[in-house]
Symmetry: C4
Subunit: 242 residues, 4 copies
C-alpha cells in the first residue's frame, strides 16, 4: 500500500477492484432475498456469487503465499476475517446447506475488509479512548434507567393492557423504543399514571441517551487538535534545524 | 475501598460479588413476571430470591455491626437504601402479600447501591451543578411550551376528533409524545390548522427539548478541564518544592 | 423587586403568591376540559376561576394606580399582557359566551407574566442574538428542504396511495413529521422509489434539523463566557483602585 | 448587488420582488395539486403561473442581454438554472403535456435562485470543507451499519413476519426508519431475538447517526472564528499603518 507525499491514502487499482467486489457481493446477497425472482435472475445472482467467492479465495491464497511470515498472517485479525469471508461457502458444499444457512451470516464479516484500508478510522478510535470513561458511565446509567422504566411501565400498564405489557420484557422493549425516541407505536401507555410516568422517564432519559454522541463529538475535536499540534511541532522542529 | 497507584478503582472481590448479586436479583425480578413459567422454573426463581434477600440481610447486619458509629450508618442515605432493599420482603411475610405487591417496587432501590462505588458519578454531579441554572430555565420553558401545545392542539382537534382529544390532558400527552419526537402515533392532528400548529410547535420545541443535553455535555467538558488543571497544579507544586 | 447581595432574585411573598395563582388558574383551565365532571366539581372549578380573575383584576388596578407614569404602564408590553389576561372574562359577560370561547385562548398570555421576573431569560436572549444569522440560514434551508421533500414524496406516492397523499399539503405534513423524526405513522412511503427518496431526504435533513440546537448551545456557552469576563473585569478594576 | 458599510446584503427592490415571485410560484405549484379546486380557482392559479413564467422569461432575457459576456452567463451555473426554471413550461406547449408532467419537477430548481444572493451560505460551505473527512467516515460507517441492521433484522423476523419483512430491502427500510428514530410503525420486530438485536443496533447507531450534526456544528464555530480573526488582522493592519 503506497502513500503519496501528503499522507493521502493512494489505493492501488487492485485494492479498489476488491473493494468494489465486496460491495457488489453484498448487493448480490441482498438481491437473493427478493421473493419474486425468475429462475434466470436467480442463476445470474448465483453465478456472480460463485465468481466473487472464487476471487476472494484467490486473493486469500495470494496473501498467504505472499506474506513474509505465513503463520503471522494466518492468525492475524484480518487473516481470520479473510478466511471467514469464504469459509461458509465451502462448508456449505460439504454439509447440508439448509442447516448451515444461518452461518452465511458470517459472510458479512467481509465488510470488515472495507475498514482495513481506512486511515480516518484511527482518529475515531483515538476519540473512543479519550471518552471511554464517560461513555461507560452513561451506558451504565442508561441501562439502569431502561430497567427502571421497564418495571414502572409494567406496573402502571399491566392491568390495563395485559396483552400488550404481558411481562417485564415487553416493558423493556417499550423502554428501548421510547427512550431512543423511535416510538414504533406497537406499545404505549393508556392510563393517566403510565402517561405521567412516561413523561418523567423521557425528561430524565433524553439527556442520558443523547449525551454520548455529544461526548464523542467533543472527543473527536480533541483528537483532531492533538494531530494538529503534533504536526505543528514537526514543522517547528524542521524550522529550528534550518 | 482500595485504590491502586493510578487512582483506578480497585474493587474488592466481595464488592464485585455483591454487585453481581444485585444484577442477578434484578434479572430474577424481571423473569418472575413472565406469564408461562412452569412450577419448576417459578420455584427456582423464588429460591434465588430467598438466597439474595438473605445475602443482602447478612451484608446489612455486618455493616451495622462493623461501622464505627452505628447510628450514623443506620440513618445515612445508604443505610436507609440498604434497609429498604430488604424490608419489603420481610414485611411481605407478616402482612398479606397481595396488598403489598406494589411495595416490592422499592426493591429496585438496590440499584442505588450500584452507584455507591462509582467515582465517575462525582464528575457528572459536578457537571449538573455547573449547568443547574440553564437546565432550570429550559425545564421551565419546556413546561410552558408543553402547556401551550396542549391547549392549542385541544382547540384545533377537539371537534374533529372528540374521542382522541377528549380533554386537555390528551393534548398534554400528545405534546409529550410529539416534542420528544417519540411519536407513537396514537394521537396526531388531522385538520389543516392542527397540522400547521404542530409544525410551529415543533420548530420552537425541538431546540428547547434538545438543548439540555448539549448544555450538560459542555458542562461535563468543563468539569473534566477543572480536574485536569487541578492535577497540573499538584504536579507543578511538587516540582516547585523540588 | 429586591435583589440580595449575590444578585440572586429575591421574590417578595406577594409575587410568589401571584405566580402560584397563575399556575393554579392554568391547571384549573385544563381541568375544566375534562368530559366527566360532576356539577359539584364544575362549580368548584368555576368559582376558583372567578376568584383568580378577581385577584388579577385587583393586581392590575393596583399596578395602574401605583405606577409613577400611568400611561407608560398601560401601554407597556406587560401592561397589555396583564389586561389581556383578564379582558376575555369581562367581555364574556357582555357578549354571548359561546362565540367568544376561542378568545379565552388569550388567557394563556398570563404565562408571559411568569417570564416577567426571570433574570436567566436575558442570557438566553443574548444567545439568540449571537446566533441569529446562523439560525436564519438554517431555518431557510430547512424550509426549502421541507418543500422539496413534500414535492418529491407527492410525486413518488400520489399514485400508489392517492387517499394518503391527496395533495402536496399531505406531502408537507409527511415531511414535517419525518424530518423532525416524530414519525406518527399516519403517512409513510410504500413504493421503492418513495422509500429511497425518504432515505436521501433524511440523510440531508437530520443534520439541518438538528444543527440549530447545537448552534444555540454554543452561543449560550459564549454568552456565559462574556458574563464571566465582564465580572472579572469588574473585580480587577476594584483591585486596581485599591 | 450593493453592500452597505457594515457588509450587510442590501438587496435592491427588484431582487426582493423576484424572490417573492419565486416563493409565490412555489405556493401556486403546491395549490394546483389540491383535489377539490373549483374551475374558477384553477383558472386563477393557472393565470398566476402564466404571469410568473412570463416574468422569469423577461428576467432571463434581460440578464442575457445585459451581461458583459453573454456566453459566460448562458453557460454559468445560474444561467442554466434560470433557463431550466422556464424551459419545462415552453416545452410543454410544444410536446404533449401529459408525458412531460414529471419534467415540471425541474421548475423547483428556481429555489436555487434563492441561494444566489445568500452570503451566509459561504460560511456553511466552508464548514462542510473543514469537516469533510469526518463526515465521509461517518457516512461510510452509517451505511455499513444500515446494511448489517437490514441483514440482521431480516434473519430474525423473516420467518415470524414473512409479509412485513419479505426481502432484505424491507429490512433496509426498517433500518432507515429505526436508526433515524423516525419509527413510522409500519414494520417492527416482534420476536425476542429481533427486539434484542434492535436494542444493540440502536445503541451503536444513535451515536453514528447523531454525530455528523455535532461535527458540522463545531466546524461552523471554527469557520466563524476564522472570519473573526481575519477581520481582526485587517483592523490591526489598518492601525499599524496609522
Amino acid at each position: 500500500m503506497a502513500h503519496d507525499a501528503d499522507g493521502q491514502l493512494n489505493l492501488g487499482r487492485w485494492e479498489l477492484f476488491i473493494q468494489a467486489m465486496i460491495f457488489l457481493s453484498l448487493v448480490d446477497f441482498a438481491l437473493e432475498t427478493l421473493p419474486n425472482l425468475t429462475p434466470m435472475q436467480r442463476a445470474w445472482l448465483e453465478s456472480f456469487e460463485l465468481f466473487s467467492v472464487g476471487l476472494f479465495t484467490v486473493e486469500y491464497l495470494v496473501r498467504v503465499i505472499g506474506s513474509r511470515s505465513r503463520a503471522r498472517y494466518l492468525f492475524s485479525f484480518y487473516g481470520i476475517v479473510d478466511l471467514l469471508a469464504i469459509l461458509p461457502f465451502y462448508l456449505g458444499l460439504v454439509i447440508d446447506l439448509r442447516s448451515l444457512r444461518s452461518l452465511r451470516f458470517l459472510r458479512l464479516l467481509r465488510i470488515l475488509k472495507l475498514t482495513r484500508y481506512s486511515r480516518a478510522m484511527r482518529r475515531f478510535h483515538r476519540a473512543l479512548i479519550i471518552s471511554k470513561e464517560e461513555l461507560l458511565l452513561f451506558a451504565a446509567t442508561a441501562l439502569i434507567l431502561l430497567y427502571l422504566a421497564a418495571v414502572g411501565i409494567y406496573y402502571f400498564e399491566h392491568e390495563a393492557q395485559p396483552e400488550v405489557f404481558t411481562s417485564m420484557f415487553d416493558g423493556l422493549w417499550w423502554a428501548v423504543a421510547t427512550l431512543t425516541t423511535v416510538g414504533y407505536g406497537d406499545s404505549y401507555p393508556i392510563t393517566a399514571g403510565g402517561r405521567f410516568f412516561t413523561f418523567v422517564v423521557l425528561v430524565l432519559g433524553l439527556g442520558i441517551v443523547a449525551l454520548p454522541s455529544g461526548i464523542i463529538a467533543s472527543a473527536l475535536a480533541k483528537a483532531r487538535q492533538e494531530e494538529d499540534s503534533a504536526a505543528e511541532r514537526k514543522v517547528s522542529d524542521t524550522t529550528d534545524e534550518a
